[in-house]
Amino acid sequence: MKLLIKGGRVIDPANNLDDVLDILVENSRISKVAKNIKANGSEVIDASGKIVMPGIVDMHVHLREPGREDKETVETGTLAAAAGGVTSVLAMPNTAPAPDSVENVRLVREIIKNSAKTNVFICGAITIGRLGKHLTDISKLKKEGAIAISDDGASVDSPELMQKALKNAKSEKIAVICHCEDRELSASGVVNAGFTSTRMGLRGISRESEYKRVARDIELAQKLNAPIHIAHVSCKETVEIIAKAKKKGIKVTCETAPHYFALDESAALGYDTNMKMNPPLRGKNDMFAIRHGLADGVIDVIASDHAPHTENEKEIEFERAEFGVIGLETELAVSITELIEAGLLEWQGLVRKLCLNPANILRINKGTLGVGADADIVVFSPEEEWVVKKEKLVSKSKNSCFLGRKLMGVVVYTICGGKLVHKG
């Protein structure tokens, strides 16, 4: 079967492309990228006036299956991904059971095989049960299909254990993703510590609880000359620490989520539990630091930290509500609205952060439109506006922090492995 995507503005930083081009897909791969391709008998997608880029590689997604199928399943999560232009997701390991053994990784792999609508990659656990006590067998997890390890949702408190994990991961050539949080410091906080926690009468989560752990993990990576990836950067100090480390040549990469560059702590003042996430929305200064970190290259990746929760877990008192928001369906549009429109990123830069950089960090052959690559492609209208509405969201859970927001950029086609998985 042949598919021809005609006349779109093709943006592909992996091949340094930004031009009006046609893309021919044959047998689920990209077979040609050129002007005015003639391909008889192929299905044609008219992409004129649209942008064509590689499918988004979202390296921070909670699909909740196995264990919490009431929040999301691999099927509903990947349908939401497709709707958002995401063709590859990295499934985070805070499931029940956690992918901490060969059997448990195999279980996740089976579910993916049976129900995923996009590519799903597995992030194994660093420690058994993500409890921070005993390391998993990284080599075996990798053989079974894990492409990264993380204890996401928790940080590995013991520096000895973390160092060992980094060392093993280095020799296995597998990415380590750090959720950086010192729980002794963040304690039972629920919003950013400072004026916001004081005026809301809530316990605060300090910046220190994040950046001190970031500094520790980077120091460990430096000692071993091992690569390390820092998840969901939310505050100014973290950006500064990572910038310094990069200058020193330490192999650190990092990601942020759209809510950290689109929103600040003031959004939480009405006790809207869709503004409750961990790390929390920070101050305006932090938000600007994140934006500049994206603009100047300190922050490599935009990932959603898609964290679905049921209404029962969100429509309750702020302190009792679960942390986290969904984001697969809004990350592209929020990025366009907040970064492209504001002139902070050029298209090439945005595509790097959404597609190419995460693929490189995870060492997967994605995020490119090169000939021979898997045909994971998004076609979207960059200037079309839409309003985020609960009833329009595909994800099983509706806990978006962008409900009611007008955004720019509508996904028109999502193609994954040559197959049309979403039509807007």
């Binding site: 004081t198 809301m200 009468g201 809530l202 006790y271 008192e317 702020f318």
Partner: protein, 314 residues
Amino acid sequence: MVWTKKDLLGLEELSKEEIGLILDTAESFKEVSSREIKKVPALRGKTVVNLFYEPSTRTRVSFEVAAKRLSADVINIATETSSVKKGETLIDTGKNIQALKANIIVMRHNYSGAAAMLARHLDISVVNAGDGWHEHPTQALLDIFTLKEKLGHIEGLNVTIIGDIAHSRVARSNIWGLTKLGAKVTVCAPAILIPAAIEEMGAAVSHNVDEALRNADAVNVLRMQFERDENNAFPKQLEYYKEFGITSERLKKAKKNIVVMHPGPINRGIEMSSEVADGLNSVILEQVTNGIAVRMAVLFLVAQAQGKTNEAAD
């Protein structure tokens, strides 16, 4: 000035004019309590539900008396006897009360923001009778009403609040209300009981009582909630009394007519000596009396606004 808010959730979101309107309305209601027949028909046929998730006697009784003096029917729900214990959500509880065709829910809740959440989901009025550490607007309004009655004005006053500021909704509501009306507020406590960035709310911070009392026109002494001291981090009771307790000796160094307030219940000999509590500067019982008038005003105004806010919000 017309009142348009269906709910009273806190003083942070009120304008100076709105606070003024509540105080003026309270003044006109105060006289009702001194009549032989202490009742006006302002809320006749309306139902007020006191929904209390935390044990409270004085605030609950004060609201009940206020509602009854306005001729409303009053129903008291305490968590011990409700389906809340069976796991019903707050929103469900609220919707059930709304389905009973009640007009106003007066809620005390241990979680900050609970009143705001409930108000968002209901068409009927919600009056916050204290939510977590967040706000206790009617307490601050009655404090301000009492101060104004005693000193004639609020603008330009120096008001010191002493005690556990970090965990106090009374302190927060007082800071918002007093600063909006032009008073200067100083909070005074050991450092561990002062919350982060409180200065951004408009309050000055002191750790020395004598200093904080020196220019004060009024002092509001908060109850030390030693039962909240989970981490055993508070100063010990006697130590606190020595450093921060309000005694006659301390008051001698302050302005002669300094107004001494306390939201009650008092821990005598911990935050304040009995001599001060019962002394000439104390207005503690007047606060209780004024609480009725202020709560009558609030119930009356939010009931009047029903329907208006909804239209405005759409």
